[in-house]
Symmetry: C2
């Protein structure tokens, strides 16, 4: 039930479902995502549970919006979740499973292509994260220059950058190993 708590967390400022969706797409993309069709019913449920309160407000641009605010109970529930320690959810990387089975194709160029395409996709995502990181350039020098909120955001962004960078390095390592393996195979064939 993490989405409940993530919405509670994002609602440090009053926001509509639509706003929250945009926040998901802007920031936490490297660690969470949600669709509007999941957000709206969840907000509704949280309001029924008394963790949120909503009011309809006119919009500056567009139709009327339902704006949600966290209640005192909502904040308490968020803090309870945070104090319970890190939630280690299950990881799922379909592309690693694919790599594990690529031997079935008996074609090392397919594995090579696969890793090169993966590297490209990861690099693309890394660029996106690094554009965000540039805004915090000062933080690398003096972490005390940031507000509490910015500081925590920055740490999360660093997680994205270090973890995608490591994955790209892994791609490079794989590509090198695949090439090395090929060369040695060819050599030992010639030796015969």
């Amino acid at each position: 039930m993490s989405l409940d708590h993530i919405l509670l967390g994002l609602l440090r400022e009053p926001a509509s479902g639509y706003d929250l969706k945009r926040e998901f797409d802007a920031g936490p993309r490297h660690f969470w995502s949600a669709e509007l069709s999941q957000i709206y019913p969840t907000l509704n449920r949280l309001e029924k549970k008394g963790l949120l309160r909503s009011s309809v407000e006119p919009s500056a641009q567009g139709p009327r919006r339902r704006v949600y605010r966290r209640t005192k109970t909502g904040l308490q529930e968020l803090l309870r979740w945070l104090r319970a320690g890190p939630v280690m959810g299950t990881q799922r990387f379909a592309y690693v499973a694919q790599l594990a089975f690529l031997h079935e194709a008996h074609d090392s160029s397919l594995t090579l292509d696969f890793m090169q395409q993966l590297r490209k996709e990861l690099s693309h995502f890394l660029s996106f994260l690094q554009r965000g990181e540039d805004l915090y350039a000062a933080a690398a020098q003096d972490p005390a220059a940031l507000s509490d909120i910015e500081f925590h955001d920055y740490l999360c962004l660093r997680m994205g950058v270090t973890s995608i960078s490591a994955r790209i390095a892994w791609c490079d390592e794989c590509i090198e190993r695949i090439r090395g393996r090929r060369r040695r195979r060819k050599r030992s064939e010639v030796a015969k």
Copy 2:
């Protein structure tokens, strides 16, 4: 629908649902997992679709087992999935979301404790992966010494090791930054 393909991939040798569950727990733990209650119905469905074929066989130890084999169609479907290129599923890291919201607690020691506990859990998992890596010690020298299957398995294991290592380094970086921020905050308070 990745589980379908992962089961097809794991079934390079005939196996029962119970066998496959043990394989999940032994190997792919760092990139996939599944429960028996999900595996059994999925195998059933794949058989109905003609991608698998099963037969009941006596067990060496215990009651009779239903052993599944991949059909030609099953292998073709697996290869189709592999050739389609890397599947970039959505990532979900609840603990990063937690970190993003920890500022609400207004207590830097809570953030510090959180990161230290996270580091501990990740280290534990890294040890598990490294025990697996030791079996492939030779591969680091000569990748051509491994069979195709072992080579691909090894690359997947390396993904786990590099990616968890990077995450641990990130924890250390965070811990350092939190401490540095504290010191600077205290200093500027004294300066007043």
